[in-house]
């Protein structure tokens, strides 16, 4: 999942980025409003975390510009302004959530999870595909009762495919939503991790969870042998 953080206060921005990356998200960050808008308009994000009091362009202006352009990406406002009027203003401007500073990073993570869940039409933090279940809160994967140990990257990849269960997801989409831009951009990085994931999810009966659609991408769907 790829998150955009637009916050001008450096210590807070750094802490949020680190927290989100630790939780397995790919994160882009900007300290200025106009640059943040450029990021949002030119990349596909699963959630945008947006401060209001920004230099050059404030958060409400960014919100308005994106919504007018038809962007449906979930947006969480973070602001020190806690009055009811300010919250109403932010929500009416198109924000999906409003978090008042100071806040716990854990809460921010939970709200990001909630927004991404909603964006993909999932009602709970628990995703189930066949006998595979994925607990997004605990970042745990179970097959039946047995836990499947995954690396953070493998987990992020599986989570993204699970959120888009039943859909064919292209390599580019996986790259955009799971990988940080500063990471190695080799063309087969996605294929390599898909291979790792397949190996860890392989079923004794030969059934597979990750299907390949040649020329299109990958699909998370259990197929018996």
């Amino acid at each position: 999942m790829r998150i955009l953080v637009i916050e001008d206060y450096t210590p807070l921005r750094n802490a949020m980025v680190e927290s989100l990356e630790t939780a397995g998200y790919a994160v882009d960050a900007s300290a200025e409003g106009d640059e943040g808008l450029w990021y949002a308009q030119n990349h596909d994000y699963d959630t945008i975390v947006l401060d209001i009091m920004l230099p050059k362009m404030n958060g409400l202006q960014i919100l308005g510009a994106l919504r007018r352009a038809g962007a449906g990406v979930p947006m969480i406002i973070i602001s020190a302004r806690d009055s009811v009027d300010h919250r109403i203003e932010g929500l009416d401007a198109g924000a999906d959530d409003y978090l008042v500073k100071p806040f716990a990073l854990k809460e921010l993570l939970a709200r990001v999870r909630a927004q991404t869940r909603k964006a993909y039409g999932k009602k709970t933090a628990l995703l189930a595909i066949g006998d595979l279940s994925l607990d997004r809160s605990a970042k745990r994967v179970l097959r039946g009762e047995a836990e499947v140990k995954l690396t953070p990257r493998e987990y992020s990849l599986l989570e993204y495919l699970a959120l888009r269960e039943g859909e064919v997801v292209s390599r580019q989409e996986i790259w955009d939503h799971v990988y940080n831009y500063y990471e190695d951009a080799s063309s087969n990085a996605v294929d390599v991790y898909i291979g790792y994931l397949r190996k860890k999810l392989s079923c004794p009966d030969g059934g597979t969870y990750i299907q390949t659609r040649r020329g299109q991408g990958y699909l998370l769907e259990y197929k018996p042998a």
């Binding site: 001008d8 206060y9 807070l12 009091m53 230099p55 020190a80 806690d82």
Partner: protein, 474 residues
């Protein structure tokens, strides 16, 4: 003391004036009618007196009250003629039968004629005229002519007339006028109340409009009713302007409070997030140290901000008192430059001071002046273009001291000059939390300048930003 409403006062005073006018008019009408009537009556009486006085004769030395004889012989006059005559020499009196033994008044007027009102023996109101008369003397024989002159035989005659009819008519007139007065008064009061009620209706509508207006919403300026009386338009306009100013002040206060909350909450969020992230997993000692140091730095900045806000609040609310002593402006500037030395070097800046060699002594508050110069010089250091020159000069002119601080600032928007002294205003260059700039420095400087009676101006021209501080001199 009871305060009466305009309505009550208008009703009372207008009602009083109307009552006075109506009462005066009624009185004048009544008096005129009465005077005219009595004049007619008195004329009649005088005419009767003239006639009857001729009927008092002395014939051959004998008094003959022929008027009495005429009355007795005229049945219509027996009960209606009220005449009495006195012999002023002997005091004897002769009365007409209608008087029934009662006396008419015997008084003298200034011209010998006296009029008065009486009650007649029959109970009716009467009008009487009295006058001294001289009898008509006649003799049949010259030897019977009186030896004394007729003036030595004066008589007083009084004649009364029944004026009950006229009196009743006057009474009816008086009653009618009184009723008319009362009715007119009532109608006047009702009309006055109606007019006042209609006149005050726009004010009542205005009252409702004002009642519904939200003083916390500066955009909610009430509209003046079109039918408002011209007498109060000026007052309402002033009130509306005052209300708008109060709303603006409230809005600025709310904005200031919101800004303070924002400026404190944001670094607080930074501290909380930094420490929370430090604790989320096991880390190396140096990692912990780095994060704790960062949190400590932010906390220190917050402390400085709180300090500045306290200063600002005290100065803005005029609870701070300047302690005036003799201070050396040159030394204050040099001290500040020394403190900011690292920051100056870090940005590749150089400083060109043009300070007088001798001390520049002023009567001022050393602490506040230090804060002021620290803010101005600190801003110049923070906002100067990298590797540029900051010029600081102090000069004496016309008994005043001028201090100028100039720095190159290519990206400064001249339109922002009007905003730089607003609380929490910061240019985009120093936002982000790393610079320690809270945006309160210039507002604080302005408050200090007000307290110390210093003039402070900002100019921007040809990519150079200049702050000028003018002291009134020692």
């Amino acid at each position: 003391m009871k305060i009466f409403s305009i309505r009550s006062r208008l009703i009372f005073w207008i009602g009083s004036v109307v009552t006075l006018i109506l009462a005066s008019g009624s009185y004048i009408i009544y008096q005129t009618a009465q005077t005219t009537l009595y004049r007619e009556i008195d004329q009649s009486l005088l005419s009767l007196m003239t006639l009857e006085s001729l009927e008092l004769e002395i014939i051959d030395g004998q008094v003959d009250h022929e008027w009495l004889t005429d009355i007795k012989n005229d049945a219509s006059r027996v009960n209606s003629a009220y005449i009495q005559a006195w012999d002023e020499t002997s005091g004897e009196t002769i009365r007409s039968p209608a008087l029934a033994g009662t006396d008419l008044p015997r008084e003298r007027g200034s011209d010998g004629v006296h009029f008065s009102n009486i009650l007649l023996p029959n109970g009716n109101h009467g009008r009487v005229v009295g006058k001294q008369i001289l009898p008509v003397i006649e003799w049949t024989d010259a030897s019977l002519a009186p030896s004394a002159p007729v003036e030595s035989m004066p008589y007083y005659m009084a004649i009364a007339m029944d004026i009950e009819t006229s009196h009743s008519a006057l009474r009816r007139l008086g009653g009618t006028l009184l009723l008319g007065l009362v009715f007119s008064l009532l109608v006047s009061i009702v009309t006055i109340r109606l007019i006042i009620m209609l006149s005050f209706r726009p004010l009542e509508r205005l009252e409702q409009v004002i009642h519904k207006t939200d003083v916390n919403n500066p955009k909610d300026v009430f509209e003046m009713p079109q039918d408002l009386p011209t007498e109060v338009r000026g007052l309402v306009t002033q009130y509306r302007d005052l209300f708008f100013r109060i709303s603006r002040v409230r809005e600025r206060e709310r904005e200031f409070s919101a800004n303070v909350a924002h400026e404190l909450r944001t670094p607080l969020a930074g501290v909380e997030a930094t420490l929370e992230q430090a604790l989320v997993t096991d880390r190396t000692a140096s990692d912990y140290k780095q994060r704790i140091t960062e949190a400590s730095r932010i906390a220190s900045q917050m402390g400085e901000l709180v300090n500045r806000l306290m200063w600002f609040s005290r100065l803005h609310n005029q609870t701070e008192v300047a302690e005036l002593t003799t201070v050396d402006l040159t030394q204050i500037i040099e001290t500040r430059l020394e403190i900011l030395g690292d920051a100056i070097s870090a940005r590749g800046l150089s400083v060109e001071p043009a300070l007088p060699e001798e001390a520049c002594l002023l009567q001022s508050d050393e602490t506040l002046l230090g804060i002021l110069m620290n803010n101005l010089i600190g801003n110049a250091v923070a906002h100067s273009d990298p590797d540029s020159v900051i010029r600081i000069s102090v000069r004496h002119e016309s008994g005043r001291v001028f201090c100028q601080i100039s720095n190159a600032c290519r990206d400064f928007d001249a339109d922002e000059l009007t905003r730089i002294f607003q609380p929490f205003y910061r240019s985009d260059a120093v936002r982000g939390g790393d610079s320690g700039h809270s945006g309160i420095g210039l507002s604080l400087s302005q408050e200090i300048a007000k307290l110390l009676h210093i003039e402070i101006n900002a100019r921007f021209a040809e990519s150079t930003f200049t702050m000028e501080v003018i002291f009134s001199g020692k």
